[in-house]
């Protein structure tokens, strides 16, 4: 091997070992391109808009990062997002005070998470198909209970949850997401729980033999993912002042793409919460940029699918380079 080649490899390794770069590099490139095409992109209002959209995805992406890190998967997060909004809306309509209504929504999420965890851990079902099953069941449950009619006309206090702007500028969801990002990254990289989740994803048997409560840890990641999905649903309903039966449908893959492209491995064992935040911002930026560049929104689905595949390739390649093959 020539010397330059060798040098190139080391550089590549250094880049790839910073997991977050998977999202950061495309993000920067995108910003440059968009800035040339439409300078309006950089208006403060637009940036805040992107960040707000990303915040909603990130509320799900944060716990999903832990779930993927432990080699889990959850395709029901979109459905549970819808469920959270609907349950909260129904509880409010039934006259429950706001905190109790939110609690009901979170509990409904916890229930679905427990079911998912049970399938994956106790019954050892293939998690991809099993959570797809729960996704359909939850969507079905929503359709039955709401007759596919949205719930609206909420009090101002509920709407303020998402619509209030800090200093008259920054939407609350952005604040929530920043807090989540900090807490999540600390849990992942500084605590025993985070280390154990990564160990389980890296090698479940080794982790179990080292005395780690593998099943309990995995259960927590499943439940947390669903609880935060339900929370995202509550806040989405607050933002639009309307709980829609399909509020979260179809978001699961784009959120997962964001997590993976952010540097969390589908194969488990490696994860970064900050990367997931960057991934969420990247996807929100793409959507926004498509609109500003006058590309039909019909292209969105296609582009999200494409990004998911690219993310998988990046993940695979990253592992290959790091393992020195």
């Amino acid at each position: 091997m020539s010397k330059e080649n060798q040098k190139g490899k080391t550089l590549l390794r250094a880049l790839l070992s910073k997991n977050e770069l998977g999202a950061l590099l495309p993000l920067v490139l995108l910003l440059i391109v968009v800035a040339f095409v439409n300078p309006n992109f950089f208006m403060r209002r637009n940036i805040l808009d992107i960040m707000r959209t990303a915040s909603f995805s990130f509320m799900v992406a944060m716990p999903l990062t832990f779930l993927l890190a432990s080699q889990g998967l959850d395709l029901s997060v979109g459905a549970v997002t819808s469920l959270g909004g609907i349950i909260c809306g129904m509880a409010l309509k039934a006259g429950l005070p706001l905190p109790l209504a939110i609690l009901c929504a979170l509990l409904s999420g916890a229930l679905v998470g427990t079911i998912n965890g049970f399938f994956a851990i106790k019954s050892n079902l293939p998690v991809f198909i099993a959570t797809l099953g729960t996704q359909y069941m939850v969507n079905g449950f929503i359709a039955i209970t709401t007759n596919n009619v949205a719930i609206s006309n909420f009090d101002t206090s509920f709407k303020q949850l998402s619509q209030y702007r800090l200093f008259g500028e920054v939407p609350m969801p952005i604040l929530y997401a920043i807090i989540l990002a900090i807490v999540g990254q600390i849990i992942l990289s500084k605590t025993r729980f985070g280390r154990e989740v990564l160990a389980i994803g890296g090698n479940k048997e080794t982790a179990y033999l080292a005395g780690i409560k593998v099943n309990q840890r995995r259960m927590i990641t499943f439940i947390a993912t669903s609880v935060f999905s339900a929370l995202a649903g509550v806040l989405t309903a607050s933002r639009f002042a309307c709980a829609q039966p399909a509020a979260g449908s179809g978001t699961e893959l784009s959120i997962m793409a964001g997590v993976i492209i952010g540097g969390t491995s589908m194969f488990g064992g490696q994860a970064t919460v900050i990367g997931s935040a960057l991934g969420a911002i990247l996807l929100a930026t793409i959507t926004n940029a498509l609109i500003l560049m006058n590309v039909s929104t019909l292209w969105q689905s296609f582009i999200y699918g494409f990004i998911l595949i690219v993310a998988l390739y990046v993940d695979k390649y990253r592992r290959k380079v790091l393992s020195g093959e």
């Binding site: 729980f193 280390r195 080794t206 780690i212 064992g269 592992r319 790091l322």
Partner: protein
């Protein structure tokens, strides 16, 4: 001109990087003969089989293979089959959800035009099942059969191709006595029909019962080829083990104290053979500062014993474990670690380390609880602890943050050992402590084991490496046929004693 021999392997040498698996091996098989091949773990039997099956092409080894007195180029599996050689492997290799008939005639189904001739298929299968003594419906699925019956199905599949040479690898390891008898009769019938058989086995009673001649292999070489009627069991055992032990094993005996661990009535189900136990009702004890070796052949249940003690396998296991005379309930590795145990498994990659994690993270994995305060890992304490172990074990890696995947096998093993040292066990279970690692690292591992016993740690060590077992053990148990068939202390631990116990039934 036809030859007396149907098959001759002439001066076959097969090298792997760093090892010679077969060294100048010559074997010849007569028509209608049963030739037994026996030898210890790692004597080269499997490599020999792979060459005969065509799995290694003729370019990958030196030497020649002659069929019917003609030199034949074994360039692929197809060539071996075309010459009428059929292999029956020890690991069961069946399609569980296909019928018996489809399993036996897979790839070879009788056809009527473009369609399978099921009538002929089922009647042919019936005939094959009769041959191996199975009274089963050709249409039934394989799932649900016991492993002995599955082994017979594999043999029937080989027979269905009307081979001239059949190679059987440890065919009776999953058979009951009754099934073994049927197999022996089948072999006898085949021999009278002029089929030649290579019978790989370490069960001497079977060799004496069925074989005409026997080849003894050791360390990749043929040690002896004798007519069965000319040798005794003792002579075979001697030929299998006769090896000098070099001084690689610096055993430094530690003072041995009182009993720390007692295992009573341990029964562990067989991992693959439903309804059978791999060990049954065994009891033994371990004393302070002692290295208790466990010997036996592959498949005797040695690893399963360690896994069951540690609570790693629990399904179907019955046991009573006493630590310092107190009964300990060990239902999971967590319980075992809490009771002061550590377990270095045989399969490093599957159960020993996390390949995408760093040396530091791997080293501290089993003591995270100790390192945490309010759920937070104490970073400095962790790094210090890992760094000390890194130095002490002389782990060769660029830094503590290097991923395990980038380390050599020996250094990976050191990390696994270090992980358990950091958990400070009083009882350490070690399965194959030096498997697949270089000589230098081996000696370092032995030194660590010696140091541990001097600190009062007790060790149970499973080993297939005979010299290692003999020189490192203070006491040695041998497992065979579900039971402890030998217990030796000090100078009684000899290759001969261990080998005899290992093949006892």
């Amino acid at each position: 001109m036809s030859s007396e021999y149907i098959l001759q392997m002439k001066n076959v040498t097969k090298r792997f990087p760093g090892v010679v698996a077969l060294s100048d091996v010559s074997i010849s098989l007569k028509k209608g003969e049963v030739l037994a091949i026996c030898g210890e773990n790692g004597a080269g039997k499997s490599t020999l089989m792979k060459i005969l099956s065509g799995s290694y092409t003729s370019r990958e080894y030196e030497g020649e293979i002659w069929i019917d007195g003609k030199k034949t180029d074994f360039s692929s599996v197809a060539v071996a089959e075309a010459n009428g050689i059929e292999m029956v492997y020890q690991e069961l290799n069946v399609m569980l959800d296909a019928s018996l008939a489809e399993n036996i005639y897979v790839g070879n189904l009788p056809m009527k035009g473009k369609f399978v001739d099921y009538k002929k298929l089922y009647s042919d299968t019936r005939a094959m099942l009769d041959k191996v003594g199975l009274e089963l419906d050709p249409r039934q699925r394989v799932r649900g059969l016991n492993s002995g019956q599955m082994q017979m199905i594999s043999i029937a599949r080989a027979l269905s191709k009307h081979p001239r040479i059949i190679v059987l690898d440890e065919p009776t390891s999953s058979l009951t006595d009754k099934e073994t008898n049927i197999l022996m009769d089948t072999i006898d019938t085949l021999r009278r029909e002029g089929v030649s058989l290579l019978f790989i086995s370490h069960k001497l009673d079977e060799i004496f019962r069925i074989a005409d001649r026997v080849v003894v292999m050791r360390d990749g070489s043929v040690i002896a080829t004798e007519a069965v009627s000319d040798v005794t069991e003792d002579q075979l055992v001697e030929a299998m083990i006769g090896r000098t032990i070099d001084n690689l094993y610096p055993k430094a005996a530690a003072p041995i104290g009182g009993e720390v661990l007692r295992v009573e009535h341990l029964t562990v189900p067989h991992p693959s053979n439903k309804g059978q136990n791999i060990v049954e009702d065994i009891s033994f004890s371990l004393r302070k500062g002692e290295i208790l070796g466990i010997g036996g052949l592959v498949g005797a249940g040695r690893s399963e014993v360690l896994s069951a003690i540690f609570g790693y396998i629990t399904r179907g296991v019955t046991k009573r474990i006493l630590i310092d005379g107190q009964e300990a309930r060990i239902a999971s590795p967590m319980d075992a670690i809490r009771s002061g145990m550590g377990y270095i498994t045989e399969e490093r990659k599957q159960t020993g380390y996390i390949w995408v994690h760093s040396v530091r993270e791997n080293l501290t994995l089993a003591c995270l609880k100790k390192l945490s305060r309010f759920g937070f890992i104490q970073k400095k304490q962790e790094t210090d602890m890992a760094a000390e172990m890194f130095r002490m074990l002389d782990i060769r890696a660029p830094s503590l943050e290097t991923m395990l995947v980038n380390l050599s096998g020996g250094n990976q093993q050191k990390v696994v050992v270090g992980k358990w040292l950091l958990s400070q066990p009083r009882i350490l279970l070690i399965d194959e402590p030096t498997k697949g690692i270089d000589v230098g690292t081996k000696a370092e591992i032995y030194k660590i084991m010696n140091d541990l016993t001097h600190q009062g740690v007790s060790i149970i060590m499973v080993s297939s490496d005979m010299p290692e077992l003999i020189s490192m053990s203070d006491r040695c148990l041998v497992l065979s046929n579900r039971h402890i068939t030998g217990e030796f202390t000090g100078t009684e631990i000899t290759q001969e004693n261990v080998m005899k116990a290992a093949i006892a039934s």
